[in-house]
Every structure is written in structure tokens, then in C-alpha cells.
Amino acid sequence: MSLTLRRPTSTAPRTAGARRGKVERQWPLALALLAPAMVVVFGVVLYPMGRTLVLSLVDATSALQTEFTFSGLSNYTALLSNSEFWATVWRTAVFTVFSTAVELVVGLLLAQFLNQRIRGQWFFRSLVVLAWALPTIVSANMWRWILHPEYGALNGLLMHLGLLDSYKDWIGGPTQALFVVALVDAWKTTPLVAILLLASMQTIGDDVYEAAAMDGAGAVRRFLSITIPMLKPAIAVVLVLRTIEAFKVFDIIYIMTRGGPDSGTTTIAFYTYLQAFSNQEFSLGSAAAYLTVLFIFVLSLVYLRMLRTDSGGTA
């Protein structure tokens, strides 16, 4: 991979400049080049970031309010002492762990399969890319219809085949719905995980496997003692990225269950949405959003740290 090229090239201009005996003043040019991107991104994002933080520290009854009385961390303590909020956190954790586990296990097996040299492999890889490319809302709508208790295709098919004698409500119970929604998320996202792991798998040389096979290691043994350890950095990256995404999951839940039944699929992002847009509790919603930000911030630091050690270690 190209990772090893990074360090040599970045030091090249420095030595060249030193040789010429003057340090090039690059910041005016850098500023000019970066200005458009900074306007487009910071101009749009920084004010809302700050404003939401302020909203979370006051007691706003309307989002339009301009005069506030600061209420300190009371919105945060109100959330953290609320059992409903903790139930939401718990559901988010269950959703995250379950969907990420399915995506990782199936994604690993799928990547291993896609890495085989068999005829027609282009077709199987295209299938995975196809499932990845399907827009999230299309996928969520499709599964909502397939699993629909009255008009769904799954009930219909199972009845036709005689495997079911009465219609089932697949997302009828709160716990059941959470797991089904997590599975639908996994159907949509496992292809991405497989694509990422496959890219990393393809950097492992054949000679390692051949040597192990020579020593009598079977296919399962080779997978467990070579592939998995070599993929560790990629697996770690996938885990962190998927956890961040799971904390933001909104689309699938909005389409399939609207957080129900019985709040069973109200994860943290949907809870925040309901606070702000259904209950008009802007301050509470902002505080919930910032608790998510804090969590994602910590995970992002872990992620960036992993990338840095990763680029020194592998490739």
C-alpha cells in the first residue's frame, strides 16, 4: 500500500529548503488554498456547534430565544438522573454491540470468501458492491414492507410454503424490534465491512500462507493464526467507525419503527430527535446531543491514534 510513501515525501521539501538556506514562507499560500474549504465547512458548522452547546447550558423554552439564564449543567444532570435516558443508552449499546458483532463476523467470512480465487468471483464481488450501494432509505423501506405484519412479503412467502399458519408481527415486541432493526442495519452495512477487510486481506502475501500450509496448517488454522492477526489494525478501525455510526443511527429507525413499539427502538439519536422535534425540549435535546458528541469525540481520538500507529506499523 501507499502508506510507506508518506514519510519520505513529506520530509523532502524540508531538506531542499534547508539546502537553499532559507525557509520558504508557506503559510500565506496554505491559507489561500485552505480558505475556500474553511468557509464552506467552518462557516456552516462552527456556529451551530457553539449554539447547540449554549442551548444545552441554558433553559430554553423556544429555539428562537436570544436572552437566556444560564442553568449550568442542570440539563445534563437532569438527563443523567433520568431512567428513561439510561434505558435509551442501554438500547443504543445493545444495538451497537449486536449489529457490529454481526457485521464483523459475517464481514470477515464474506471477505475471506471474496478473497478466494474461484471462477465467477467478479459476480460475487459485484453482489456485495450492489448491496452496499443501495440507498439506506430504500433498504429500510424494502425491509419495512417485507416484514410488514399485514402486507409483508415474508409472512406471505412463509404462508405459501406452509412454514407458518398465521401471520407474525416481526417487529411487534420492543426487544425483538431492536434486534430486527439491528439486523437490517447489518444487511446494509456488512458489505462495507467486507470491502474494507478485503482490501486489507489482499495485502497479505501468498508466501505466508504457503509456508504455513507446508507446515501442515489447515485452512481454518491459517485463517485464525494468519488472517485474523494480520487484519487486527483493519478490524480495530472497523470497530471504532461502526460504533460511531451506530450511535448516529437514525434513518432505519425513522422508517421502520419511529422508535417504537414501546420505545423499544428509541436509541440515543432518535431520543435526541424526539426531545428536540416532538417535545420541543431544545435544551434537553441539545444536552443529549452533546453527550453523544463527547462519546464520539473520545472514540475519534482513539481512531486517529490508531491510524497514526497503524501507518508506522503495517504496509
Partner: protein, 281 residues
């Protein structure tokens, strides 16, 4: 390594399983899109219609705006315009910024890069209320412009991140030669770096397009009339609280899937490389 005689059958069994899991739901969706409404609402639904109908597709393409199907066509156009403009803006701004990060040294370089990544990781829910208020104050709510502005705020950091890694991996000697020949930094970027970086530009542009095409949350909050609604929001309304038109949902969903699926299949190499580089670099 000599594979056992079970190897090939086992592999094709896995392949068949994969095909069923991926193509099965697709096939159901395709059948639903051509089944008459009465059959779809039957118990059990009739998914092998005697007289398949293409009426829904025809309606989407020919019905006047104002009808549900006609408005979906408007939404397709809106999504194309919004995603296209977002890609154009984020490619131009992203290329310039990525080059600065890849090749220049300046104070605060790491901090600025970090803030870009931080904004990229921000959950939309932590931004949307003030954004909505600002949009209302500027009279931008319910316009495609507002969506382009917001989408660029997350497609740009992505393009920047992907391309700065890509540029760094290109040998610096290329540009140095061009600069000795009298090109400035920007001249070298445009004439030497960009042509060499074409695969990276294609990956970044296409992935940014797919992100914008897929976006649902901001569009849900910011748009209210068919004139600015994008495809995901239009699709969500087909099976919303007040309507259960599964057939139109299926036809619309398949049409909405056409651009990203075609892009992903045609540019498979660019897409998979871009995804891997975006996550691991």
C-alpha cells in the same frame, strides 16, 4: 496448496447463499413494483402477478408534478441537482485544501486538520436546530440551496481527507520538475498533480455523490414542499403514517437505487479503493 475436493462445491454453496441474501430482497422489490395494488394488499400477497404492470414507472415519468408519482420525478431531479452541486463545490475546495495539507508546512496545520475531522464526525443532531434557525432567518428553508450548503459541510472534509492522503502518496519530484520549469505551486497542482491524481479524484467525487444522494436527516428537517424534497424524503412519505403505497415505494426505490448502483458497479475499483483509503489512511 492443493485444495480438497470439497473446496469448490463448498465455495459455490457460499456464493449461492450470498446471492440469495442479496438478490432475494431485490427480487421481491422488483416484483412488488410490477404487481397490481390489489394483489399486493391480498393475504397472502400475490407476488407473481398474471398481468404485471409498468403503470407505476410510467406514472413517475409522465405524470404532471403535483401528483404523488409526478412529484417523485421532481424529487429525482432535486437529488441530482443537490448531489451534483455538492460534489462540484467539495471537489474544488477539497482539492485546494488537500494539496495544502499534503505539501505545505504552516503553523496550526495539525489543529486545522483536526477541526475538519471533528466537524466531519459531528452527529447532525448536534447541529440541526441552530442550522434550521439560521436557515429560517436567511429565508433559505425549503430550498435546494440550503441542502447544497449543508451537504458541502460534510462532503468537503471527506474529499479533503481522502485526497490529502492521495496527494501525499504521489512523488514530490513530479511537481518539483514542473516548478523548475517555471510553474508556480498552483500551476504545478493543476497541470501536473491533478492529471496524475485522476483516479483519486474520481473516487472522491463519486463517494461524495453517493453520500449526498443517500442523505436523509437534513433533507427531512429542511424541506417541506415537493419543489425541494429529495429522493429519500419522498420515499419515506410513500410508506409514512398516512399512506401505504408499497408498489409505488418499490418502483420509486428501485429508480432511486439506479444511479448509485450503476456508479458503484461501473467504477467498482475506484469505489472500493476510495472506501479503503478513506477509512484506513
Amino acid at each position: 496448496m492443493r485444495p480438497s475436493r470439497f473446496y469448490r462445491p463448498a465455495m459455490y454453496l457460499c456464493g449461492a447463499l450470498l446471492a440469495v441474501v442479496v438478490l432475494g430482497p431485490f427480487a421481491l422489490l422488483l416484483l412488488a413494483s410490477v404487481s397490481p395494488q390489489a394483489g399486493l394488499l391480498g393475504k397472502p400477497p400475490d407476488l407473481w402477478p398474471d398481468s404485471p404492470t409498468l403503470d407505476r414507472y410510467a406514472a413517475i415519468f409522465t405524470q404532471a408534478a403535483g401528483g404523488v408519482a409526478g412529484d417523485f420525478r421532481v424529487a429525482l431531479v432535486n437529488s441530482l441537482v443537490v448531489a451534483g452541486c455538492s460534489v462540484a463545490v467539495s471537489l474544488v475546495t477539497g482539492v485546494l485544501g488537500a494539496y495544502a495539507f499534503a505539501r505545505l508546512r504552516f503553523p496550526g496545520r495539525r489543529l486545522v486538520l483536526f477541526v475538519f475531522m471533528l466537524t466531519y464526525m459531528m452527529p447532525p443532531l448536534a447541529l440541526v436546530v441552530p442550522m434550521y434557525m439560521t436557515g429560517a432567518a436567511l429565508g433559505l428553508l425549503d430550498t435546494r440551496t440550503s441542502l447544497v450548503v449543508v451537504y458541502c459541510s460534510f462532503t468537503t472534509p471527506f474529499v479533503l481527507w481522502l485526497l490529502s492522503g492521495y496527494f501525499r502518496a504521489l512523488p514530490a519530484e513530479l511537481e518539483e520538475a514542473a516548478r523548475i520549469d517555471g510553474c508556480g505551486r498552483v500551476g504545478a497542482l493543476v497541470r501536473v498533480v491533478l492529471p496524475v491524481a485522476r483516479p483519486g479524484l474520481i473516487s472522491a467525487g463519486l463517494l461524495a455523490f453517493l453520500m449526498a444522494w443517500d442523505e436523509f436527516f437534513y433533507s427531512l428537517i429542511f424541506t417541506s414542499s415537493p419543489a425541494s424534497k429529495t429522493v429519500p424524503v419522498a420515499l419515506a412519505e410513500f410508506t409514512g403514517r398516512y399512506s401505504l403505497d408499497f408498489g409505488l415505494m418499490a418502483a420509486g426505490g428501485l429508480l432511486a437505487a439506479v444511479p448509485p448502483v450503476l456508479i458503484a458497479l461501473i467504477f467498482q475499483k475506484h469505489i472500493t479503493r476510495g472506501l479503503a483509503a478513506g477509512a484506513v489512511k
